[in-house]
């Protein structure tokens, strides 16, 4: 083995000039050629060959998560923060199945990742071998594409194709399953320069006729709204979107995936819409006579009862993925196109024929709605009489830290510049509501799949991608605990991502549903120690100490600001455990399958 190591290829060297290489080395060389700098990988029997080859790679740094799910979420965080393809790797069997949640998550949110799994030797496949699982078959419904490598000579082509497929068109996860004997076979690699996939045409482009029709519709509209989604961010079209909006003066509501696609501090921003979105965004869409749906998929958490969504408006849907057209909602003008191209052409067309309409009446109406129902919070009656205030605050309600306020203060202290990741639940919605996102790739959240435990590993991946930015995971106590082991990756690798845990000792979002729809009956939603309810459980500060990660707990409002500042000033990973009451509900709230008329917002 030691003789091979000086042969380890570099991205810059000419192809196939050397003698034969091991499959594992060919794989690593192919990854280097794709410009990979970071891999989140947990070794095992079926992947250690590749780890061996990686030890000899200069450009690639291997980050060791403490659970494969942490690895795949970190790869997602890396990809979502940078726009580059994230890479993770696991061994066969349980290593591979532990990746599945993350792969499904990337599929739902269209995140470009390449997941590599070791597989038992080909001669053992189908024999029920130790740590064997059909990961190729298991992930079929949740991958953009996948490969089982059966011949070492295919490796260079497969890696090239995998990165191309993951990163182009509508991005998504690609799985490469590599049997151990393929890793151990020798071959003379031939690295292709181009990809030849006759069935893959990733970038459809709208023609001018269709785009001109959009401009005609805008001229005829009185109450237009733009509904912009993650497609704007994946296609790097935020700049074009802003030009388009400023030229047309159409108010913009984004989806959760689209947060940051349009600056939320802009006067034309309606923030985001949907189940817990801004009331004014939902009213605007309900009242719109023209809805421009750009890079969105009419998700049920956005639309509620889908046929009542923008019931009386003309809907234009532009999306890169033809299968999204008329999937959830039939629309009047469907256009299959890369949204970056469409917006760039629209802006060029607009330069030639500026929109005459100014929509003053509509702007006044929207302003009235904004004034009527801004995102807000106050200590509610349930909180006032809660055990939280009685026991922890000593009855002093002025010292209670509301979760919304903690986020608002964090926004203020970071100047709105931090990259925010989240887990899933109430804290996720509040992070979206009370942090103002101004740039794309600033809000990294598991939106479609809603995977608890996403926040901290994703923050680590994002911090690896953006080492010079402040990266903060706003998390819940339930979600954070699901991948708490990644404090080890943070400390050992020196990844200074911060975690703010809004700790209410409950599974807050489910509690909210219990309160609203199940008479407050608690079904396993209390996460604390029932025998000792006065003590916060688990003790995250002690846990962090065990990982050598600095941490502190804040209980009183008077300590909040200084504690957040200490966290921000830390050059290390840092955990801030903020104790909040569980009695707060996320508002506004459109119950599932209901319409904007049934929105609870006061």
């Amino acid at each position: 083995m030691s003789t091979i190591h000086k042969n380890a290829p570099k991205a810059t060297t000419a192809p196939a000039a050397r003698t034969d290489l091991l499959g594992s080395e060919i794989l690593v060389a192919a990854l280097e050629r794709e410009g990979v700098e970071a891999i989140f990988a947990y070794p095992g029997g079926a992947s250690l060959e590749i780890h061996q080859a990686l030890t000899r790679s200069k450009p690639i740094h291997v980050y060791l998560p403490r659970h494969e799910q942490g690895g795949v979420f970190a790869a997602e965080g890396y990809a979502r923060a940078s726009g580059k393809v994230g890479v993770c790797m696991a061994t066969s069997g349980p290593g591979a199945t532990n990746l599945v949640t993350g792969i499904a998550d990337a599929y739902m949110d269209s995140v470009p990742i390449v997941a590599i799994t070791g597989q038992v030797p080909q001669s053992m496949i189908g024999k029920g071998a130790f740590q064997e699982t059909d990961i190729y078959g298991m992930t079929l419904p949740v991958v953009k594409h996948s490969y089982l490598v059966t011949d070492v000579h295919d490796l260079p082509r497969i890696v090239k194709e995998a990165f191309h497929i993951a990163g182009t068109g509508r991005p998504g996860p690609v799985l490469i399953d590599v049997p151990k004997n393929v890793q151990q076979s020798r071959a003379q690699p031939v690295f292709p320069d181009t990809v030849n996939l006759r069935g893959y045409h990733p970038e459809p482009r709208a023609d001018d006729a269709a785009l001109t029709e959009i401009l005609d519709l805008i001229e005829r509209a009185e109450r237009p709204v733009l509904y912009a989604g993650g497609g704007i961010i994946s296609s790097s079209a935020a700049g074009e979107l802003r030009r388009f909006v400023e030229a047309t003066q159409i108010p913009v509501a984004t989806t959760i995936m689209g947060c940051g696609a349009f600056p939320e501090t802009h006067p034309l921003s309606l923030k985001w819409l949907g189940m817990h979105g801004a009331a004014y965004a939902n009213w605007a869409v309900a009242g719109a006579d023209l809805l421009l749906a750009f890079g969105v998929r009419f998700d049920d958490r956005v639309t509620g009862k889908v046929d009542k969504f923008c019931e009386h408006g003309t809907i234009v849907h532009v999306d890169i993925d033809a299968s999204e057209i008329n999937k959830n909602r039939r629309v009047h003008l469907p256009i299959v196109s890369d949204i970056h191209h469409a917006l760039r052409r629209l802006n060029e067309l607009l330069a030639g024929r500026p929109v005459q309409k100014r929509f003053h009446g509509w702007h006044a109406q929207v302003a009235e709605w904004k004034a009527k129902a801004p995102f807000s919070y106050k200590v509610n009656a349930d909180t006032l009489k809660s055990q939280h205030i009685r026991d922890l605050m000593g009855g002093d309600a002025s010292q209670v830290i509301l979760p919304q306020e903690a986020i608002a203060v964090l926004h203020e202290l970071t100047g709105g510049e931090a990259v925010i990741t989240t887990g899933v639940g109430q804290h996720q919605m509040w992070a979206g509501q009370f942090y103002q996102f101004r740039q794309p790739r600033q809000f990294i959240t598991s939106a479609g799949l809603g995977s608890m435990g996403f926040g901290y590993p994703a923050a680590l991946g994002a911090k690896v991608a953006c080492p010079d930015r402040q990266v903060i995971d706003i998390d819940g106590d339930g979600s954070f605990l699901m991948n708490v082991q990644e404090l080890a990756m943070a400390h050992i690798e020196g990844i200074a991502a911060k975690a703010v845990v809004l700790n209410n000792q409950h599974l807050g979002m489910v509690v909210q549903w219990e309160d609203r729809f199940y008479e407050g009956n608690r079904g396993q939603t209390y996460l604390g120690d029932i025998e000792n309810a006065r003590q916060i459980y688990p003790d995250f500060v002690t846990i962090a100490k065990g990982f050598n990660v600095p941490a502190e707990r804040v209980v009183f409002k008077r300590d909040l600001r200084a504690a957040l500042q200490r966290m921000l000033d830390s050059s290390e990973p840092y955990l801030l455990d903020i104790i909040t009451p569980y009695t707060e509900h996320v508002l506004p709230f459109i119950p599932a399958g209901k319409t904007v008329k049934e929105m609870i917002w006061e």
């Binding site: 190729y136 419904p141 006759r198 069935g199 009419f298 008329n326 959830n328």
Partner: protein, 196 residues
């Protein structure tokens, strides 16, 4: 489709009254379903890369939506790296439209066509083994001749007949064979090519 549900043949499909079968309701919950819908018989032709795993991906798009594939035929084309699949299924237009788009999205799919009536020529090949005795053999042979089918095997108590044709012809032939007691039957499923 469950038996006993009222079905009324229309020009291009079946009109179903009442609710869809249970399995369909869970499949695509978002799509607004009307109280009645036209369930069309669709013939979908898919050109795919001749590689392992492709069939599973294609079949998964149907099974994931609770749709049954009525017939499925796969074999290489004149280009050995390309296979053609001919799939017949029943479904409302919106769902079949969605499946066709999803089929198109597969990296290994080269082209998809959802054939409308009259746009394609199609045939099916059936092997049917019918029980015969000295008194019925002649009649079976006579019907076989009328249908321009072929007897490909003769046994003391049975004959095996090969018939090729469109669905109507094949169904009619099977119906006529039924009184003689069909012992075994296998069909290739429809194969189709576009006229143009």
């Amino acid at each position: 489709m469950p038996p006993g549900r009222p079905r009324f043949p229309t020009e291009r499909g079946f009109l179903i009254y009442g609710e869809r079968p249970e399995r369909d309701k869970t499949a695509v919950g978002h799509i607004h379903r009307q109280h009645w819908q036209i369930t069309m018989r669709h013939t979908i032709s898919v050109l795919v890369e001749n590689k392992f795993g492709v069939l599973t991906r294609v079949a998964g798009l149907f099974s994931g939506r609770g749709f049954n594939i009525d017939t499925l035929n796969v074999a290489p084309t004149q280009d050995p790296t390309v296979s053609r699949m001919t799939i017949t299924t029943r479904g409302d237009d919106a769902t079949v439209d969605q499946i066709v788009k999803q089929l198109n999205k597969l990296v290994d799919t080269i082209a998809v066509q959802d054939f409308r009536e009259g746009e394609s020529v199609d045939r099916e090949l059936v092997l049917v083994k019918v029980s015969v005795n000295s008194s019925t053999r002649a009649e079976v042979m006579q019907i076989t001749t009328i249908f321009r089918a072929k007897i490909i095997d003769v046994q003391p108590a049975s004959v095996t007949i090969e018939i090729t044709g469109d669905e109507g012809k094949v169904d009619k032939f099977i119906e006529l064979m039924r009184p003689f007691n069909i012992l075994e039957l296998t069909r290739t499923g429809k194969v189709a090519l576009p006229r143009k």
